[in-house]
């Protein structure tokens, strides 16, 4: 255990009764020791934050508490009594509820069905469903957790899916709620809403454990915070007595630069010229409504907006793979030459050949083949490039050498190119994708959610590389739901709402409040209050709290 941290351990409220107490928990997966002799004390009625780098063992620890994994050794006490949690049923009965990092919902079930799954009242569904419907309505009112009980999960936005997970726990009358990286997939507005709910729960005396990579959130909402590093608990402190910089250092083991350091942009000629771009998807919904913008060399254009307002479609269309069956019109010029938008040359391979790189929004579904090794993934999308090929065959030695170089450059851990992508943590997976796309020096780089679920050490690094690319005179299109990220990186910000660009701002000359209004669909001229960012054609029209001004 690291010596400088040890003296601060166990500081928070030793006197207050503990809802959860873990003693000496260890867990290994085969040869990997995910948790090493971990002790943790969470006082009743508090929000307790847990932070740590990717792969530090946070999810594992919580899964043990929830009975999903069995610990190799150690003791768990809930409300003072030691219990053996053998499966999730025991945990649920002890009043523990958990919202997993990757949701455990059945995609083609309704909300209601997901809620009662495993907590039905009898062998027949009808009474259980009826009861759950009532309880759900009550909970929705009490905690502002509105979801349509008859909607299919796959039709819901991630934010709403998360609400379902929380409702699931509340329906089971959980007193202790564990949330594993709940905000990684949320928009700022949704995250804010979540925090208000959590505060409400705390006020009722419930205990909450919150895992997050965002120090701002830790500072904002938690009472105490614990830091994990490489399977160990290195510190537990009162939030009020610490600072982001200190936490970052405890987490990573070195000083971390929390702000992006960048010189003013020196834009050159336009690289990308988008004119009247329109996309209608296969269900006839207009996803992009005549969008026009330019990006010049040496410039980062940030696109802010609540997810689901056409950013995904824009990235996929520019990347060369719009959704099957969608109709596209308009024009896009790249380096002064027209891009084929609908014909045979509109595929992703041709786009890459034209100098467009793409860091996709979902690294696990698109950006990587999870079963391929890291080195195979470094060639993904560029596997036709001459330097990776020797005649008819691929030049695996060249790809491997290149992969090792990139992994070195981007500090991908573990530094083992033969490992399958799925065996890297999310942050390291992201680094592989970023390395692949940035190192090819594309004229234009499309980026979707570059740092989702990535720890702060890695975020710092990825941001630095994006700025370097810009400084080398390349154009960058950055889509992110994180306003902080957009504000920190962009040279210009365009706000998207309902398939339109609502306006453009310069970072220094705007505020989050102003951007928030634009994201909610309020233009400069009209000032009618609107529901934040939910596009009108979206199925779940309901009142969300407004963006804080």
């Amino acid at each position: 255990m690291s010596s400088d941290a040890i003296d601060r351990k166990g500081q928070p409220d030793t006197a207050a009764p503990a809802a959860i107490e873990l003693r000496g928990i260890s867990k290994s997966f085969g040869p990997v020791q995910a948790n090493r002799n971990i002790s943790l004390r969470v006082p009743k009625g508090t929000i307790h934050g847990i932070i740590g780098e990717n792969g530090a063992g946070k999810s594992t620890l919580m899964s043990i508490l929830y009975g999903f994994y069995k610990p190799d050794s150690g003791e768990i006490r809930v409300n003072g009594t030691p219990i053996t949690i053998t499966d999730s049923q025991t945990a649920i009965r002890s009043g523990i509820g958990m919202v997993f990092q990757h949701f455990k919902l059945v995609q083609n079930f309704t909300v209601l069905e997901n809620i009662i799954l495993g907590a039905e009242d009898g062998p027949l569904l009808r009474p259980s469903l009826a009861k759950a419907r009532g309880v759900l309505k009550q909970l929705a009112e009490e905690y502002q957790l509105n979801v349509d009980p008859d909607e299919m999960i796959e039709e819901l936005s991630v934010g709403h899916q998360q609400r379902v997970e929380i409702l699931k726990a509340l329906y089971r009358q959980a007193d202790i709620l564990i949330l594993d990286e709940p905000t990684g997939v949320l928009t700022p507005a949704e995250a804010d809403h979540l925090f208000r709910i959590l505060e409400g729960l705390r006020a009722e005396g419930k205990t909450i454990i919150l895992i997050t990579h965002k120090l701002r959130e830790i500072m904002e909402i938690t009472d105490n915070v614990s830091v994990m590093r490489r399977g160990e608990m290195v510190a537990s402190v009162k939030t009020a007595e610490t600072s982001p910089a200190e936490l970052a250092e405890l987490m990573v083991g070195r000083k971390v630069l929390l702000n992006v350091d960048k010189a003013p942009a020196t834009p050159g000629d336009p690289i990308l010229e988008v004119r009247d771009l329109k996309l209608v998807d296969d269900e006839g919904v207009e996803r992009l409504r005549k969008i026009s913008f330019d990006i010049r060399a040496g410039e980062i254009l940030g696109i802010a907006g609540v997810s689901g307002n056409g950013q995904t479609q824009l990235l996929e269309l520019l990347g060369g793979y719009p959704e099957k069956g969608s109709k596209v019109s308009g024009s896009v010029r790249m380096n002064g030459q027209e891009l084929d938008l609908t014909g045979t040359k509109s595929d992703a391979a041709t786009r890459r050949a034209r100098g467009i790189g793409h860091i996709p929004e979902d690294r696990q579904v698109e950006g990587l083949i999870m079963d391929f090794t890291a080195w195979e993934n470094t060639a993904f999308g560029y596997h036709r490039a001459p330097e990776y090929n020797k005649g008819l065959l691929m030049d695996n030695a060249a790809i491997l050498a290149d992969a090792e170089e990139k992994m070195e450059h981007f500090d991908v851990r573990p530094r083992n190119a033969q490992l399958a992508a799925r065996n890297f943590s999310g942050g390291n997976q992201q680094k592989i994708v970023v390395a692949r796309e940035i190192e090819r020096d594309p004229d234009l780089l499309l980026i979707g959610q570059p740092t989702r679920g990535v720890d702060i050490g890695a975020i710092e690094f990825i941001h630095k590389r994006i700025v370097e690319l810009r400084d080398a005179g390349k154009a960058v299109l950055l889509v992110s739901v994180e306003l902080d990220e957009i504000l920190a990186l962009s040279d210009r910000i365009a706000v998207m709402f309902d398939g339109r660009i609502m306006g453009e701002r310069i970072p220094d000359q705007t505020t989050t409040g102003e951007l928030g209004l634009l994201m909610a669909g309020v233009t400069d001229t009209e000032h009618t209050p609107a529901s934040a960012g939910i596009p009108p054609d979206h199925r779940h029209v309901e009142t969300l709290p407004e963006e804080p001004a």
Binding site: F68, S88, I92, L105, L125
Partner: protein
């Protein structure tokens, strides 16, 4: 085509579809729970054999049915062991079960009866005989309804009615009961069931057992209902057709009824018109024999579209590696 011919063809279709329907529903339970099963053929074959043997030895079709279910269940348990407990490859396990049944039935049959794998012919109560529904004879002469009731609906073996009742029953179980909800969930996302504190293993075994029972009934119907005894390889690919029907039906009970009916109907029509004469050309019987398969492909391509299997299907549930 006159009315009695239509009735006759439909009647034949009902008989031909029954084993397909039972096997298809069997597969439906298993695959809805995330356990793929290409061993339907083998289970039916084993059931046909054990049912015929026991029915012959005891003279009771009902005991035969029980034995058929038992035989099929034994193979189901092997499949469960391989694909649930030991997280093996479900396709390989299914292939193995087909081989096992094909070999064991003949081996045991030869050992017991010495007839080269056949069982002796069944007689009397050792078979499921056709049952006549009440009033079938008295209303036969009523136009339309009479023949439909007396010749089409009445006059099948009890197992046919069991198969048909299984359709609404399956629908009800899957969509109206707690068990069904959990079963479907475990085929879509076993982690959701596991984190809800319900055992994935138990649910999957339950599904595999139901699958075994239904295959058992299907096999018993083949050997003790439709024919009178076991002949080696007598399932003749029906397990695979049932599998095709299951995909065709997109894993839904009512669709399974229609899909298997379609297969039965196509076969009944091909049986009825073995040599279609179209003016100067006579379509050869080989073509008519292949017609059900050709039409299946055409219907599938033309009208059915993409079938999305249960999302967790075919994958063993592993939470720690």
């Amino acid at each position: 085509m006159d009315f009695p011919t239509i009735i006759q063809i439909l009647d034949s279709a009902i008989r031909l579809m029954t084993p397909l329907l039972l096997a298809c529903l069997a597969g439906l339970y298993s695959e809805r729970a995330g356990v793929f099963d290409i061993g339907l053929e083998g289970k039916m074959l084993m059931a046909a054999f054990t049912a015929a043997s026991v029915a012959y030895l005891t003279g009771s079709a009902w005991l035969g049915l029980l034995a058929g279910i038992g035989g099929s269940l034994a193979l189901s348990m092997i499949h469960g062991l391989a694909s649930i407990t030991f997280m093996g490859n479900q396709l390989i396990s299914g292939v193995a079960i087909n081989f096992l049944a094909s070999g064991l039935t003949v081996l045991l049959g030869q050992k017991i009866f010495g007839l080269g794998g056949r069982t002796p012919s069944l007689q009397g109560n050792a078979r499921f005989n056709e049952i006549t529904l009440p009033f079938a004879d008295s209303i036969r002469d009523v136009p339309f309804i009479g023949p439909v009731y007396a010749d089409l609906i009445s006059g099948h073996s009890i197992l046919v009615y069991v198969a048909f009742i299984c359709v609404p029953l399956t629908w009800w179980v899957l969509f109206r009961t707690r068990f069904g909800l959990r079963l479907r969930a475990v085929g879509e996302n076993p982690a959701s069931v596991d984190t809800a504190g319900v055992s994935v293993t138990r649910l999957r075994y339950a599904a595999v057992i139901i699958c075994g029972v239904l295959c058992g009934i299907a096999g018993a119907y083949l050997a003790t209902g439709l024919s009178a005894g076991f002949v080696k390889e007598m399932t003749a690919g029906r397990g695979f057709i049932a599998l095709a029907a299951l995909i065709f039906a997109k894993w839904r009970p009512w669709n399974a009824l229609f899909a298997t009916f379609l297969f039965g109907l196509l076969e009944a029509i091909a049986n009825r018109y073995p040599n279609l004469e179209l003016g100067p050309i006579t379509i050869p019987s080989m073509f008519m024999n292949a017609l059900p398969y050709i039409l299946t492909v055409i219907i599938l391509a033309g009208f059915v579209g993409r079938a999305i299997p249960p999302r967790a299907g075919g994958e063993p549930y592993v939470k720690e590696r």
